[in-house]
Amino acid sequence: MSSTGTGIQPPPRVIEAARSPLMASAFAGRKKVLPILELALLIAASIAPLVLRDYITVYATRVLILCLFALSFDLVWGYAGILSLGQSLFFGMAGYGVALLSRDFGVGSIFAVLPAGTLIGFVAALLLAGFLLLGRHPSSVVFVSLGTMTGAYAADRLARGSHYLGGQNGIPSIQPMTIGSHELSEGPGFYYLVLAILVLIYLLSRFLLRSQFGLALAGLRENEQRIAFFGYKVQHLKAIIFAISGAIAGTAGSLYAFHEGFVWTNMLGVVMSTQVVLYVLFGGSGTLIGAVIGTAIVEGLSFWLSDNYRDIWPIILGVLLLLVILFRPLGLISLVLGERDRVGHFGPSLKEKRNAAP
């Protein structure tokens, strides 16, 4: 058997074809919009605290944390096709976890609480995945979405009833997070910290999703049954991306807890889980940047509308959301990004191809 596995030596024209300028342009072209958009948003986010008033910077910090949370949902839904309706479970559990670390053990160092929160989200997601996703046969979308939702609902109820977790009131007055001897309270410092974490996690996710692993996820999303026949262990793929997403939600949850200074049961429950679904649908799933844009716009609009239309703002926001989903089912991002660009391609870079050629 030949090394190509197809039983045929590649004719010389294969190699020529692979090197032809036509093919090179097919690799290099397109996807110009996305990096420009990403860069523009990064610049806007970087200068925001310099021009915004302080109380708005505090609000913007919260929005950035929610962007991180939305990113975690886009990873499972937009890329792997797992409809997790209980994403807040990981967000909230991490929030409660770090709040308890702070309250009961006086631990507030960023180098302890952020990894701890991330780990809590990761482990919780892995356990839930083991239960929901790792059966011998693939589980249905409805089973997974109801399972995750029930998880979030149950956690919410448990926290409400638990004296240790502060019941309805949650855990108030969490001490600020510290970096060395410096206390991080809300304001520009906290804002830039969150922005840095968001950018870092965004880039890591982007790297992963554009890798061959991302291609496997695309296959999972498009036709789970088909790729099982290629030999993919689809349940493992799902569990891995689910756990990664849980870890990111955990990071977001711990940041949220310290930024707000308290945690309460809504962080765990269905309300928060639904909110994150709305962010991602509004912005457009499966692009990462869509989740960020969706969160920023929904939260920004809520902020502005609630100021100006005190009584009816939720109705206006609701109608706006419906309109977008009605006329732009793929979210706002589809205004600037076509389907082909959204899915992208996963072939090797020119450099990798050159190395592969004999």
Binding site: M1, S2, T4, G5, T6, G7, I8, P10, P11, R13, V14, I15, A17, A18, M23, A26, F27, R136, L208, S211, Q212, F213, L215, A216, A218, G219, E222, N223, Q225, R226, I227, A228, F229, F230, G231, Y232, K233, V234, H236, I240, E339, R340, V343, H345, F346, G347, P348, E352, K353, N355, A356, A357
Partner: protein
């Protein structure tokens, strides 16, 4: 020792007995046609071989291993590959990515995460695309292909898993005469390294390409042998060839 041996395969759906002790033996580098009237159990047997269905009774042995209870990924890793009856290419992905997806299935997760194998697999992707006359469309979405081309892409994807045995469920379904002829040509080189089981309604196509045939009727094997033997078999002529 044959490559694949299925013996005493029965499959019962509620009150319906789709397969009743069917058997199939496929040797190395053999093209084996599975024919029979509608409802004779061809597709069900195919699914039992591929692992899409678990037979109620019976045993499937593949390369000296009992694979009866193997899941589809386990069978794929053992060297079996299936082309579905309904084309199941991944429409939004490019042709290139469709093939790469199939080729990289055996790479480790770490290799996938760091894209360590795609440079190495590039030539294999292009070879397959060229072999199936799809290279000039490599970077178009699979959704833009004609039906016949999608079938070819599927066969190419099934072959990308480097199978020892390829299961083709109606490879020429919905194809024009010319496309059928080309499909036959495209499959010939596969014989160098791979056996094929084909379920197909087009008897001319089957006659041209297959070495041996198994005829199913009402879930049972009516006859099995070389193409000439089957053509000469009177009971086969009665139930099948005359009707077709």
């Amino acid at each position: 020792m044959p490559l694949l041996e299925a013996a005493g395969i029965s499959k019962v759906f509620g009150k319906l007995t789709a397969l009743d002790g069917a058997a199939l033996t496929v040797g190395e580098r053999e093209f084996h046609g599975l024919i029979g009237p509608n409802g004779s159990g061809k597709s069900t047997l195919m699914k039992c071989l591929a692992g899409a269905l678990v037979p109620t009774r019976g045993k499937v042995t593949f390369i000296n291993t009992d694979v009866t209870s193997f899941t589809p990924p386990e069978r794929a890793r053992a060297g079996m590959s299936l082309k579905f009856q309904i084309t199941a290419v991944l429409p939004p992905l490019t042709l290139y990515d469709n093939i790469l997806l199939a080729l990289q299935a055996q790479s480790s997760l770490l290799d996938l995460a760091f894209s360590r194998t795609r440079g190495r697999l590039h030539e294999e992707v292009m070879t397959l695309l060229l072999q199936f006359r799809l290279a000039d469309r490599a970077f178009d979405a699979a959704a833009t292909l004609s039906h016949g081309q999608q079938q070819w892409l599927e066969i190419a994807m099934a072959l990308a898993c480097r199978p020892r045995l390829l299961l083709l469920d109606e490879p020429t379904g919905g194809m024009s005469l010319e496309e059928r002829r080309v499909t036959g040509e495209l499959l010939q080189p596969v014989k160098q390294h791979c056996s094929i089981v084909i379920v197909e309604h087009d008897l001319d196509f089957i006659r041209d390409i297959c070495d041996r045939l198994t005829v199913l009727d009402q879930g049972k094997v009516l006859a099995s042998g070389t193409v000439a033997e089957i053509q000469a078999n009177r009971s086969v002529q009665e139930i099948y060839l005359r009707r077709a």
